[in-house]
């Protein structure tokens, strides 16, 4: 039997807003001394209330717009209840039925489309630290991360190939960084991945929106590579079960990096009832079209548009465009260098080549110095004035029709004649000299 993998993704991104989602504490918790960035609000102390961070809401809308989502003009926060020591209020402020962004879409490089079901905003939890204190095994809680703004993006189960999923995730990371809303650093935990996976046999018509009657969630995956491996291992496991005529249990599974296998964490029977209800401490959010339009107009050019422009306008090969556009700082450096280069006869391809293959940009902090270096490197021995003059005269003799056109007022032929002259000079002509001399000789001929 042939099986088609049906894969959906869930991505958590910690926003890099200065303060936390509902209080004034600093949000950057990485490698900070435990419990030094807390207050009554993010500790969930009696009486404390949340006050929403406007910038985090805007950042989430930016992300939604970048993924072509509809932005709900009426949105709200909800309480999601569960007990866990790192959740000080006994509930997480999240979004349930009216997330900020819904029904987005992303087009993969292959042209395949992936649906974005929703993007919502919530608060991060604290962190449990298990260690030995005075010879006793204890669990400690660090609340520095508690209340940091966290975005959750959920895709439709539209991936049928793990490489598409990885492409999407990498692109998501790039877009998040383009928007400047998060470092999306998996090692620091500011980007976290989850996948849900099932296998469809031939009886299921995916094109009609049919789906297998189960799904397995893969959690706690901390790199693109591990996600790829985990999904592959899980496809193996599920297809073996299905081949043997067994059902796959709906459950949550983790990935064991050393054994390269997935393992059961929680079965469906343990599924939690989160008892969602609207967060009464935060009034509903309302947005006007103008507000959304204003946020939209503040978005930078998206990586896919950049790549397209690099190929179509700068004439770069796609792999060069992809490398340069993968980092917005580098892309901006490149574009600035191309602009400066255009005044010094240095073309985009030359700049791209030296950046991609020679990492020349890593040696020069600013694009101006880079271009200066490129000009030095590519300085040509120009043909002499005599050689240029001879080439021009030869061309004028040979191109009788073009000369006639010029006589009849078609100035555009000059470009063609310059090209022919450079061809004779094997490109060694100083462009300024070639143009000046060609025009004056042409004028003397047609007079």
């Amino acid at each position: 039997m042939r099986y088609t993998p049906v894969i959906g993704l869930e991505v958590h991104i910690e926003l890099s807003t200065k303060s936390k989602m509902f209080c004034g504490c600093l949000a950057d918790h990485f490698a900070k001394k435990p419990n030094t960035q807390t207050c009554p609000i993010c500790l969930g102390l009696p009486g404390a209330l949340p006050f929403p961070n406007k910038l985090a809401i805007e950042d989430t809308i930016k992300l939604g717009l970048a993924f072509n989502c509809n932005i709900n003009r009426f949105s709200k926060f909800d309480r999601k209840h569960y007990f866990y020591p790192d959740l000080p209020k006994g509930y997480q402020i999240s979004q349930y039925d009216l997330p900020l962004c819904v029904n987005g879409q992303y087009v993969l490089s292959s042209g395949k489309k992936v649906g974005i079901s929703r993007i919502h905003l919530e608060e991060d939890t604290g962190k449990l630290i298990h260690q030995i204190v005075n010879g006793k095994r204890v669990s400690l809680i660090d609340f520095n991360r508690s209340g940091v703004a966290l975005v959750e993006m959920v895709t439709a189960p539209d991936f049928h190939d793990v490489s598409d999923a990885v492409e999407f995730l990498k692109e998501t990371q790039t877009i998040v960084r383009y928007l400047g809303v998060s470092g999306a650093d998996m090692e620091k935990g500011s980007m976290r991945l989850e996948a849900n996976l099932s296998l469809a046999d031939e009886s299921i018509d995916l094109s009609k929106g049919e789906l297998p009657n189960y799904k397995v969630e893969l959690k706690n995956i901390n790199s693109f590579r591990f996600l790829e491996k985990a999904v592959k291992a899980e496809i193996e496991r599920q297809s073996t079960l299905l081949e043997a005529g067994e059902a796959v249990l709906q459950e949550t599974r983790g990935y064991d990096e050393t054994k390269n296998t997935t393992f059961s964490q929680r079965s469906k029977e343990d599924a939690k009832d989160y008892r969602y209800f609207p967060e009464p401490d935060i009034p509903p959010l309302r947005f006007t079209d103008e507000e959304i339009e204003k946020i939209k107009s503040s978005l930078p050019e998206m990586p896919s548009d950049k790549r397209k422009r690099y190929v179509e306008v700068f004439g770069l090969p796609m792999n060069y465009a992809t490398i340069l556009a993968s980092d917005i700082t580098r892309a901006e450096y490149f574009e600035r260098a191309v602009f400066i280069g255009s005044k010094h006869n240095v073309g985009p391809k030359t700049v791209a080549d030296l950046m991609v293959n020679k990492y020349l940009d890593s040696e020069y902090d600013d694009p101006e110095s880079l271009v200066k270096k490129i000009v030095e490197l590519t300085k040509k021995e120009y043909a002499s004035a005599k050689e240029v003059q001879e080439a021009i005269e030869e061309v004028i003799r040979e191109q009788e029709k073009a000369v006639n056109d010029y006589r009849n007022g078609k100035g555009a032929v000059v470009g063609f004649l310059i090209g022919m002259t450079q061809k004779k000079l094997k490109g060694r002509g100083d462009p300024k000299m070639v143009m000046n001399r060609l025009i004056s000789y042409l004028n003397s001929v047609v007079k």
Partner: protein, 469 residues
């Protein structure tokens, strides 16, 4: 007693300026009275002498230095206040009258507490209440029931039981309460003092232990309408820590008042003495030229049912943070009423039941809100009893939660629709127990309610009375 304790902010100020007494003398007098009588009344959970004397020293210094000007900068200078023990007070134990928090000393103060402190008021202690504000009689406190100073066999009303009782016993000049479904108005009514349930969104809830967040309001309580109004001025207004607070200009009107009488509030179950007293209040207003019209709020008959779905739902959520990991006590320490509400609330929010209970209740709540706003297109205010009966005896309803819930019947409408309501004393029963009424107005109509309240008290030459102990 070595001195007469003043009963209003103005009297206090006059006494201090005319050097009849110093703030420290006031503190001495209040503390002596508390020490002598509160053992029986049980209105305080914590008395903070040290804090009070510290405040007195500062206030006396300000008065001797600045004289009258001190009262311009500090409108409540030297006024002794006590807070319901759900108000978080930095460095002062805050229990919510529950054993769960019996040793909890907070590291911050509620916005309301801070604003009163900043206005010069002096906190003398923390007041008893139904645990977590769950109740209508004060009997649900895990620190023992509070008794009504007017008759110690009777309840003072709840949940802000200590806030009403302490005022009636002259243990403080001002007090704070919270009103989620009558919890300021009921004890004000049963103890013969004035209490305001403000518009939802008028006074910051930051630092007030939450009961049902979409209904909770912070209410000032005192012996006169003027003093409650003064406290309201200090307490109201935007707070960067409570996202539900609106910035509003409060306005009243000078003449041609029209008050509505909702027929649903004057039907079956209303005690005769309460009804007759209300009639006499209406007669006095009529004498003052106020027009009365009959109005109808048909959906209010569902108010209690709606309230007892929404409230436990939010309670179950708000009490989740007392998870046994912090604060030193496990969830076993919750009393019966809290456990009852946690279970009810957890049930109505469970998947499969949410639509049938919570969602439906929210829809009816919207309906009630609409009805109320339609009524206020026709009238400036609505008059109603605060409770169906005068104070009842301690223990009379304690074993029947449903009977107790009915005490809230006239309160729920204001909380569900977010409108303000002021409870005003209007006499006594033949047995010497306080009687009163409530005036409700449209959202943010506090100024108008104060004006109406003052008009009535002026006409009857109202003098606050203190229970004989």
């Amino acid at each position: 007693m070595t001195m007469d304790i003043p009963s209003t902010i103005n009297e206090t100020r006059y006494g201090l300026l005319s050097k009849k007494y110093k703030v420290v003398d006031l503190i001495n007098a209040y503390l002596a009275k508390i020490a002598r009588y509160d053992g029986e009344i049980n209105s305080f959970i914590t008395v903070c002498e040290e804090n009070a004397y510290k405040g007195a020293k500062k206030a006396d210094a300000l008065i001797s230095e600045l004289g009258e000007k001190a009262f311009q900068d500090y409108p409540l200078l030297g006024c002794v206040v006590a807070h319901k023990d759900v108000f978080i007070t930095e460095g002062i134990r805050t229990t919510a009258a529950s054993k769960v928090l019996d040793s909890y000393v907070p590291c911050y103060s509620a916005t309301a507490v801070k604003r009163l402190d900043d206005a010069g008021a002096i906190c003398i202690g923390k007041l008893n209440c139904d645990a977590w504000a769950h109740g209508s009689s004060g009997e649900n406190s895990q620190f023992g029931a509070t008794k009504n100073p007017w008759n110690l066999e009777y309840v003072p009303g709840g949940s802000s039981s200590g806030s009403g009782a302490a005022l009636a016993a002259d243990f403080c000049l001002l007090s704070t309460g919270t009103d989620t479904c009558g919890s300021v108005r009921l004890p004000s009514n049963y103890c013969g003092v004035v209490g305001l349930k403000p518009t939802y969104g008028a006074i910051s809830r930051y630092g007030v232990i939450a009961m049902a967040s979409s209904l909770d309001t912070v209410g000032p309580m005192a012996k006169t309408v003027e003093d409650v109004e003064m406290m309201f001025k200090v307490l109201s207004g935007p707070d960067a820590k409570d996202a539900t607070i609106a910035s509003v200009k409060y306005q009243s009107k000078s003449s041609s008042f029209k008050i509505g009488i909702p027929k649903e509030f004057f039907g079956e179950g209303l005690d005769d003495e309460v009804r007759n007293n209300l009639d006499s209040v209406i007669q006095i207003y009529k004498k003052l030229g106020v027009d009365f019209v009959d109005v109808s709020l048909p959906s209010t008959k569902y108010a209690i049912s709606v309230y007892y779905v929404i409230q436990p739902a939010e309670v179950s959520s708000n009490l989740a943070r007392y998870d046994g990991i912090r604060y030193g006590n496990s969830r076993d320490a919750f009393g019966d009423e809290a456990k009852r509400r946690i279970m009810l609330g957890t049930y109505v929010l469970s998947s499969g039941y949410y639509d049938a209970y919570y969602l439906k209740a929210m829809k009816v709540r919207t309906l009630i809100r609409k009805e109320v706003s339609v009524v206020f297109e026709k009238v400036d205010a609505v008059i109603a009893p605060v409770a169906p009966t005068p104070p009842f005896k301690i223990g009379a309803k304690a074993n029947d939660p449903l009977q107790m819930y009915l005490t809230d019947i006239y309160a729920a409408t204001a909380n569900l629709s977010g409108i303000p309501s002021i409870a005003i004393p209007s006499g006594f029963t033949k047995n010497g127990l306080p009687l009163g009424f409530q005036l409700m107005g449209p959202r943010f109509s506090e100024s108008l309610l104060f004006d109406l309240g003052k008009k009535y008290h002026k006409e009857i030459s109202y003098k606050p009375s203190v229970a004989k102990l």
